[in-house]
Amino acid sequence: MKNPLDSLAGTVLCGLALTAVLFYLVRTLMGG
């Protein structure tokens, strides 16, 4: 499997996915 960090698009997608996961996690933790 190709490393997504080898391409800029893969890197940006990983960043967006991590942002979304952390956002929902923190929002849930904060009870919002």
Binding site: N3, L5, D6, L8, T11, V12, C14, G15, L16, L18, T19, L22, F23, V26, R27, L29, M30, G31, G32
Partner: protein, 167 residues
């Protein structure tokens, strides 16, 4: 004193952060591809000799200023943020953790490997090739981490926190 702490401190934190992350994006969005093309036409030495060392100098020291100014801004709330002790400090805590991981990544992985690549530290050709791959992936990882880091930093204060996290 509050003006110095929150006015000048936050200004310094954001300014140095712009330089740090700006240069990180320069390396990943501009220099990495430019270097491949420059190697193909024999002009890579111009970048590796004159541009990269200067960019790395400002990059790694901007990281220091950003992190120190961030710690100064958190002040006595540093444990609330890093240990998620207070609900209101969770978003800035996540941002602070991501920024700290990025900071450690710069000084413990990217810079030592860049020293080998640029010939500032002794390394064989094999070690240089490995250093190039490690520094590249560490730098790309910092781009990934920078995205949620900036999101949480910018959404952690008062009005913004309430609007984004509902609490």
């Amino acid at each position: 004193m509050e003006f110095l702490h929150y006015g000048i401190g936050r200004w310094l934190h954001i300014m140095s952060g712009v330089m740090w992350v700006g240069l990180l994006y320069y390396f990943n969005f501009v220099q990495a591809d430019a270097m491949k093309q420059a190697q193909a036409d024999g002009t890579a030495a111009g970048i590796s000799k004159h541009v990269a060392p200067r960019a790395l100098l400002y990059f790694r020291w901007a990281a220091v200023v950003t992190w120190l100014a961030g710690m100064w801004l958190l002040g006595d709330k540093v444990d609330e943020a890093f240990l998620f002790r207070e609900r209101a400090y969770i978003p800035i805590g996540v941002g602070a953790w991501l920024g700290t991981i990025m900071f450690v990544n710069v000084w413990a992985i990217i810079w030592p490997n860049q020293r080998k690549i640029l010939g500032l530290a002794p390394a064989s050709d094999d070690e240089k090739a490995r250093a190039r791959r490690v520094a590249f992936l560490a730098s790309r990882l910092n781009v990934v981490l920078s995205m949620p880091m900036i999101f949480f930093m910018s959404a952690s204060g008062g009005l913004f926190r309430t609007a984004v996290f509902g609490a």
